[in-house]
Symmetry: C2
Subunit: 198 residues, 2 copies
């Protein structure tokens, strides 16, 4: 009766905190109208089960590692220093993202998470965006990506990329609206007291 989506959020050391915490909040507090039924079950996944130290020191324990992670309908790839400078050189993470692209309904990046998607080649020939401070690097290093400026997010169908940090929240509301309609997304925004035109 009520459709449910499994949302996975990738974690890694030096991930930007709001990049993952913003989408976590939006998806996890969304409910179907006049019910407490949640359309999204949100969990976290990392290469190993070791404690993650996010950017500026927040310590987060992933729910799953790459070996026991379940099927995800939606996979969120956050950004931050850990994405653009560390995991971009981690072939295991890049391979895992590429493989997961075959089984998810939707892949979504926040901020410099787009670099991980670009590095795998998943964004070749596609529209995409990233944090405004990194957008020239994305254009220069990945010329096959059709980089868009001054947008909160870019809907490329099975891949949606967003701008920096808070833009991941805007993108999450967009995904909620796309899947469940304006009323559901508007109520979530009201409950979060987030100023956004749905």
């Amino acid at each position: 009766m009520f459709k449910q989506w499994d949302v996975g959020i990738l974690l890694f050391n030096e991930v930007e905190v709001l990049d993952f915490a913003g989408p976590f909040e939006v998806f996890s507090i969304t409910t179907y109208p006049e019910s407490n039924i949640r359309p999204f079950k949100v969990t976290t996944v990392a290469q190993t089960k070791e404690l993650i130290t996010a950017r500026n020191g927040l310590k987060v324990q992933p729910d799953y590692d790459f070996y026991d992670a379940p099927h995800f309908d939606i996979l969120i790839i956050p950004g931050g220093y850990g994405a653009e400078e560390i995991e971009i050189h981690n072939q295991k993470v890049l391979n895992w993202i590429s493989e997961r692209m075959n089984t998810v309904d939707l892949m979504a990046s926040i901020c410099t998470g787009a670099f991980l998607l670009a590095k795998t080649g998943l964004l070749n020939g596609k529209k995409a965006t990233t944090h405004w401070m990194d957008i020239e690097r994305l254009e220069k290093e990945y010329p096959k990506v059709r980089v868009e400026h001054n947008v909160k997010y870019v809907d490329g169908g099975s891949i949606i990329t967003s701008g920096g940090i808070s833009a991941g929240i805007n993108m999450s509301f967009y995904i909620v609206k796309k899947l469940l309609g304006e009323q559901v997304a508007s109520y979530t925004a009201k409950r979060m007291e987030y100023d956004i035109n749905i």
Copy 2:
């Protein structure tokens, strides 16, 4: 030369994720103009060092417990189910907050974190706010608090309270502006791509 503030964020089971992650992000990415120097050092503290399970399952490891926590200049009290329904009955947490009020420059609550401050009596005779869904309860249960509606935050001097969830981000920008000026707060908002009039 550059003043620095130690910011502590209280964690507890069932804390709302964006309530603590929003302020964590704002304070931790703020820098002095044209430098990488950070005015705020942000760490987390909980009653014990056990892994915290935040609302909807995010697992966070606190940096400090009540016994080894350092001096904090600013103490952030987030809300969520864990504040309004669990910790409100935890006298050790309430006592710790009361004691810390004697040593901090500023206490700041997000969302239903205001209930913890109200329960200690710290808000008696003071202006305060909370999440719009809980504001009638705050008025009814704590009639000595001068509850304000339809505001993002209320500056009561040594205590600042904010509305629900995202309002903690707005309040954090207000505190950055108050301590460091508009230019610093504006640049932080731009870096976070957060839509706000500073």
